[in-house]
């Protein structure tokens, strides 16, 4: 992608966007197509999926068979660069080192952020998810309802391309006709999961994922997305036409050089660049949002990582989409006489009520029915093609679960490309040890292991927050975040419920969990953390650390009362309306639905509102 350097910045921009992931990418797309002149600052390096994606490469061609290392923390072929749980020179701290009270933070320092390697799961929040307090008296309501966001969900689905079906399930919204692409056919393990779900009263339906099962309708969609804007329609049409349909090979977490998945770098940024209205500056680490004498933001001071020097860019408005926690950090570090505790923090709520998704380490099971199947290609769209949407609403409402809110189940199984993980899974199975018989066992078991994982809602609580660490700075001299974390009984009991449900599903599939296999064979396994957790049934031991759900959100929640929230419903901070949050920092709750689709819908809505205000001369 053509980039600029800090030396050739224009004198002033309409908008500076900080961050290039789902939120920043969507804001850049919407604003540039509306004609705004935009500068995007990205703290990481440039990244081009067209030339840097390992399509078809096998683990045998990678160093260490593709195993994770401190350099590539999600494995060699994961679409991450300069990213991970730990980044050299850019620390964060936690108030406690104990499991369960720790917070772990994955940061993607690359163009496109985490959208390059995400799992593409694209679920709409339902009506309950915007009004959770009204439903059960816990947490907080959003200032908006599902109906306010629905038109933007429609638009995002049409733009990025999401496959799925409409099932009419409770709090699991259907999409209007023309929004969704047809789902891929289920794999055989998906079908067995579906059958087991049926016997247990758990719905198992097509997943919703941002993968093109067919080419986008580039003739029709641009007009629906940008009515009356011929300029936008032409550009979006060109961009859509260049995206190919999935060819059912290469793990989606590697990114996609043919642009069949949604990545900010393949879907949002190319049309934004094509408008000629976007300047894109990588290696630019925002340090502070600056204020003018009129009390409005007038630009951003940033570190040019290529030189280590500091620079400033000016604009009429600033959109912050650095990733929820990083956005909070930037505001906390933007101190002034008017805002001694951080920009837009007169409510004192900046950094408060941060959330993650609830989950436990994957629960593995071995299914004899899946042994020795005739060879067939099961790559598909990488993971399972189905999932179980959150389903326990009646029990939840009746208070029968022992915890509020719920979770959905992600599933995967099948004859995946063999990896080190395939061999690690084999260690947990009763095999004969070595020799030709061991090879026979390996053939028999290959493809018969399934993996269930939960993604559950966490209720915001006062013990989960971040603040500036008073002592520690990163290598650029910018104060870092310190995290405080504590799960409530709601999350802990939910984790235990996940474990027992997953076990029941595996048993209903005619299989055994690794835990049960271990018990029946008295054969402890020594190298997999999965089994260590399988051996535990106590939710507090099962639940993983905050942040390990990859869905950290909140810290600058939206609301209508400036004393009880940081932004309004359009992401504008109450204190400084030309500073707009366009990532998950403004989330009020964290539904079981993965946050990315909602980030994009809210970012589109926020950017559209900002563009209207700027046209009227308000912001």
């Amino acid at each position: 992608m053509p980039l600029i350097s800090a030396k050739i910045l224009k004198g002033s921009y309409d908008v500076i966007i900080i961050g290039s992931g789902a939120g920043g990418g969507q804001a850049a797309y919407t604003l540039t197509l509306e004609g705004a002149k935009v500068l995007m600052l990205e703290a990481g390096g440039n990244y081009d999926p067209g030339t840097e994606t390992p399509m078809f490469q096998t683990p045998g061609q990678a160093p260490l068979r593709g195993a994770p290392t401190p350099d590539m923390q999600n494995g060699f072929y994961d679409a991450s660069r300069g990213s991970g749980w730990k980044i050299e020179g850019e620390p964060y701290t936690t108030a406690s080192d104990k499991d369960g009270e720790k917070f772990e933070w994955w940061r993607a320092r690359m163009l496109g952020g985490r959208t390059n390697h995400w799992a593409q799961v694209s679920l709409r929040n339902g009506p309950y998810d915007f009004k959770p307090y009204s439903r059960d008296g816990l947490g907080f309501d959003w200032p908006i309802s599902y109906e306010d966001v629905a038109p933007y969900y429609d638009k995002v689905e049409m733009l990025i391309g999401v496959y799925g079906t409409n099932e009419g399930l409770e709090n699991t919204p259907d999409s209007p006709s023309g929004c969704l692409l047809p789902p891929p056919k289920p794999k055989v393990s998906d079908l067995l999961f579906q059958k087991a779900g049926k016997s247990l009263g758990i719905p198992v339906v097509a997943n919703h994922r941002a993968v093109l099962t067919q080419r986008l309708a580039f003739e029709k969609l641009p007009e629906k997305l940008h009515p009356g804007n011929a300029f936008a329609q032409r550009i979006v049409r060109d961009s859509m036409e260049q995206r190919a349909a999935c060819f059912w090979a290469t793990d989606c977490s590697r990114g996609c050089s043919i642009r069949a998945t949604y990545q900010s770098t393949t879907v949002h940024l190319p049309p934004a660049m094509a408008t000629g209205n976007l300047d894109l500056l990588p290696n630019a680490m925002a340090r502070e949002i600056t204020l003018g004498k009129n009390g409005k933001a007038n630009g951003v001071t940033f570190i040019d990582k290529t030189t280590g020097g500091e620079a400033h860019a000016s604009a009429r408005a600033v959109v912050v989409a650095a990733g929820a926690m990083e956005s909070v950090r930037l505001l906390l570090n933007s101190k002034s006489a008017r805002f001694p505790h951080g920009l837009a923090n007169s409510s004192g709520l900046l950094g408060k009520y941060i959330m993650d998704s609830v989950g436990i380490s994957s629960t593995l099971g071995q299914i004899p029915l899946l042994e020795n199947l005739p060879p067939h290609n099961e790559d598909g769209a990488t993971w399972g093609h189905v999932y179980a949407p959150s389903w326990l609403y009646k029990e939840q409402l009746a208070g029968k679960l022992g915890f509020a809110r719920g979770y959905h189940i992600d599933f995967k199984g099948g004859r995946k490309m063999p990896s080190l993980y395939t061999a690690a899974q084999m260690e947990g199975l009763p095999h004969c040890g070595y020799g030709t018989k061991y090879k026979e066992d390996f053939r028999r078991y290959y493809g018969s292991v399934v993996d269930l994982a939960g993604c559950g809602e966490m209720i915001p609580n006062e013990d989960c927050y971040c603040e500036l660490d008073l002592k520690v700075k990163d290598k650029w001299g910018i104060p870092v975040l310190q995290f405080h974390w504590k799960w409530s009984q709601h999350e802990i009991r939910q984790a235990a419920h996940m474990q027992s449900t997953f076990t029941a599903i595996i048993q209903a599939m005619g299989g055994k969990t690794y835990r049960d296999l271990e018990a029946s064979n008295a054969k402890p396994k020594i190298h997999s953390r999965t089994d260590a957790t399988n051996a535990q049934t106590d939710g507090a031991k099962l639940i993983y650390n905050g942040g390990r759900g990859w869905h950290e959100v909140g810290g600058a929640r939206m609301g209508s009362d400036p004393n009880k929230s940081v932004t309004n419903q359009w992401g504008q901070t109450h204190d400084v309306p030309n500073v707009v949050l366009a990532d998950a920092a403004s989330f009020v709750s964290n539904a079981d639905k993965n946050p990315t689709l909602t980030i994009m819908a809210l970012s589109w809505r926020a950017a559209e509102h900002l563009a209207e205000e700027m046209k009227k001369g308000i912001s």
Partner: protein
Amino acid sequence: MKEPSAVTPALSAAAPSQGIVDRRRAIKWMLTAAASAAILPRLARAGGYGPIPMPKGYGPSPDVQRIYKPGELWPLTFTSAQRRAATALCDTIIPADAESPSASQVGVVDFLDEWISAPYAPDGGEYSFQDDRALFLDGLAWLDGESVERFRKPFADLPNEQRSAICDDICNLARARPEFLQPAKFFARFRELTAGGFYTTPEGTKDLKYVGNVAMATFDGPPLEVLKKVGLA
């Protein structure tokens, strides 16, 4: 039968230095061996894995398109004796059969060497390369020592029946006798990585009849014969 002296160079090549870490490690093996006095002299000579020779890995933005070979990015470790023992153990775990070659025939020993030579610190237990380095080098030394004790030859020179006599004692962690507990841990981890190395080669994926990783115009789901086999058609 060869004289024991014939194997001495091999064993000593596997066990030069005796740093603090080596000794602590050796003591751990001894304790887990439940004070089996016979094993003690051998473990005193185990170790010799020393520091990782190079400080850096491939960095945070590697070229993911090219094909890498063990030894290109960082120097390898195995001495010729360790390599012989590792080769023999690899091929005992995954021997050649009608479907596919043995593990060592497709480069698994090089992969194991690359693995234990990787210049990455444990970082709070997240990365196991250095733990595996200690485990494997001690384990291979133990294996040769045990072979000499039982059969007066290093492991690589043993016929299959004698290799099996040793492997049967250590191939099942749950059933291993106390004096074989640590060797059994070594064996399990060595097997896991040997299999991981083997089944990620073209020969290994073919053995498993993995037929994916090819572009297709459509994804048609499981064939009828598959659905029939699981009772869904």
